[in-house]
Amino acid sequence: MTNLTMPRIDKKTILKKKIIVKNLKKILKPENVLDHEDELRPFETDGLSAYKQKPLIVVFPENTEEVSKILKYCSHERIKVVPRGAGTGLSGGALPLADCVLLCLGKFNKILEIDYKNRCVVTQPGVTNLSITQAVQDNNFYYAPDPSSQIACSIGGNVAENSGGVHSLKYGTTTNNILGAEVVFMDGSICKLGGKTFDSEGYDILGLITGSEGLLCIITEVTVKILKTPESVKAALIGFPTIEDGGKCVSDIISSGIIPAGMEMMDKELIHATDNFVKAGYPRNAEAMLIVELDGTKTDVLELMERINKIAIKNKASSIKISKNDKERLKFWAGRKAAFPACGDMAPDYYCMDGTIPRGKLAEVLKEIKKLSKKYNLPVANAFHAGDGNLHPLIMYDSNNKNELAKTEKLGAEILKYCVKVGGVLTGEHGVGIEKRELMCEMFNNTDIQQQIKIKKALDVGSLLNPGKVYPILRKCAEEGRIHVHGGKTKFSDIPRF
């Protein structure tokens, strides 16, 4: 684990632990307050497991009133609060602090209302993404955003991170698919945002909190839009002799006016890794492979598939398979969905990156990643949401080898910097968290960051909610990479922290 500067630990809070626990047990059922070292261990990390830190206390509120009371109390006592949904986030957004109350939304696990008349579902934030679709699929409806972790990730976490998924090219990300939320701010005030209506009047606070990574408020209820299940869905599995051909095919499909429901690309390393893992029948001789999924009426899908076929042939496709039925289509996806565990099979550890680039730069960026992979002597397998240019390079390493994590992080940072250089961004769907915090200056200047920090301060005066995430910890951006801690002391210790 590399050292990362986190907000200064408030020793007074740590010394007061017993009193805090006692007071929290007055707000919550005593069994919903965990403070024993053994009870805290499961919460020491989230999906970015390279970083670990036990919280001071873990709480499981059961309703909005309790959340409000906890925040009011913590605000009054100046205790930091870190929110946590299912803990599947990949950027360390739910990494606890040693002096924090970790507020878990796990008991907010009920779907409150299914409203077909207004085509929406009102749900508590701890409900998993997939269970929303499962609750409405008998009536042929579904919730569109589908992050790969949808079986485990919570809808509240999806809002906090503005999660995407393989279908966001056509259907948008979380922010385009929610109508309302109930939130609690750090001072304990409860606020309803939006509702069952399209758009909300006044400032789009719902839009602001979506993707705010738990820095602005705690989400206690979400209203999501549901869509009618398409009449027909088909997928094509297309192999290419070179990455350039695959990249060109992606651009040509979009340029021709087709917006597929999903368009995923994998490089040779990952084709082999996933095919070994789930036997998906992938073209093993191809350098790049595309899965193009189309949905709509039967006529639409057949017509567009014909056009995709022609575009693929024009781009020298070495193999084209079109799904004959849903079983085969799901088999095509099985490999892609198993990309992470397949990498886990190939190396003791892997680190997943998440930059977004303009589609036209796919081949260029892939070449650069190959170069960097050689430079750092670490294998990288690549999966992309090619339709929207969202890359997921998976760097394989062994955390038992000293310094390999640091080397991996350096390689990851170089990849992300290159994404920004070609006109892309640092993170497409995983969030900044602690992982890309110090890289924010690659995209934003000090004025941009200060404006964002001013918003944070406007809604969380004491900077107590999830501090140390998203924004560089020092007022000014570090010039290079991370700030390392030596002997527990940071440089410029007199500069205000956020």
Partner: protein, 425 residues
Amino acid sequence: MFMEEKQSFPISQDSDLEIPKTEKEVSRIIKKFYKSNIPIEIIGTGSKRKIGKSLQCGKTLNLSKLNGIIEYLPEELYIKVKAGTRIDKIENELKKNNQQLAFEPIDFGYLFLEKSNCGTAGGQVACNIAGPRRLKSGSIRDHILGFRAVNGRGEIIKSGGNVVKNVTGYDLSKLICNSFGTLAAITEITFKVLPSAAENKTLVVHNLNIESSMEYLHQAISSSNDISGAVYLPMFPSCENCKMDIKSTFQLNDLKQNGSLTALRVEGSKKSVDERVKNLQKKIAIPESNISVLESLQSSIFWKKAKNLEFFAGTKNNIFRIVLPPSETSKLLYELPKKFKYFLDWGGAVIWMEACELSEQYFNSIRKKVVAHGGYVSMIKNSDFLPHVEDIFTINNARFDISQSIKKSFDPKRILNPGKMYSGI
């Protein structure tokens, strides 16, 4: 930075009107007013200037000269423009590549001036009032990938980028949308663009009452037919001072009857559009004489007129917009005294209403009812009878407090369009 400070821009000390041509000039002007605490009204071409409260600022910042397309990459599905670029210029450019702004920008010129004035990109973003395709494709806020702007301290800020998937930092694009110029003067916008459909057709069902129409719209939208427009144009209530005149607004040969219209638009390839129109027809047991199908050309005219609110052109009455859950629409309409005309868009999720003899008290009572039904109401056009309404929008105390804090973080001295949306913001 120091070098920039030393450059001098031709900013008039006396004129009440500033027309900057560059972002740096905008920044210098706002910095100057920030220092001297002078409030400014920000405008583009003024097409939507009358939406929101009228301002009494001594100074006006006109951004219409800040115009031009900066970058358009059709294969990347985005266009980056300066904020003062006219919407028709952008749409014409996109048309060359069979692309469009999918949120279907409304031309408010018809409402305010009785002729086209589509306004600027910045104005569309500041007001965030999307047209009929909102139902399928989302609102303006869903189509902004990034922006640059000058905040109330005169600082140039940016957020977002040129790519669709981006969660780097807070999504300020959402916040800037619908902020009516009260947070920052927008200088540059990157819009996501989408392919235009090859064909469109409109299925019109005549003479349905509101309940049957709402039921049919709901069924159609909840089907797999991918509806991209769903409106209801009623004949009732028939108020003498604000009569709905569907016939003279549309004048389309293929409309078989004159009564109320329930219209559904489908877009796509010819084959697919034909198939879906057939599917929709099957769903209703209505004689063919009560159904009209508008082919591409007439269909496009129909939606242009509906989108641009041409039924209200030239009215002297108040116009407001009620957004609410579709299930509540007809319930609300029955609760209102019959002194209005209206039409429903977004499948019944928005009511555009013209009310005659409106008083402030009456408007406030409408607002109460709308809020009780889970929606909100915004005054879009004041009238000769009621030229000033204190609360033109809908807000509650909790949201007001948060909005005030957000405003302060962008514009601490409240110099940008102060009070345009709410007193105190």
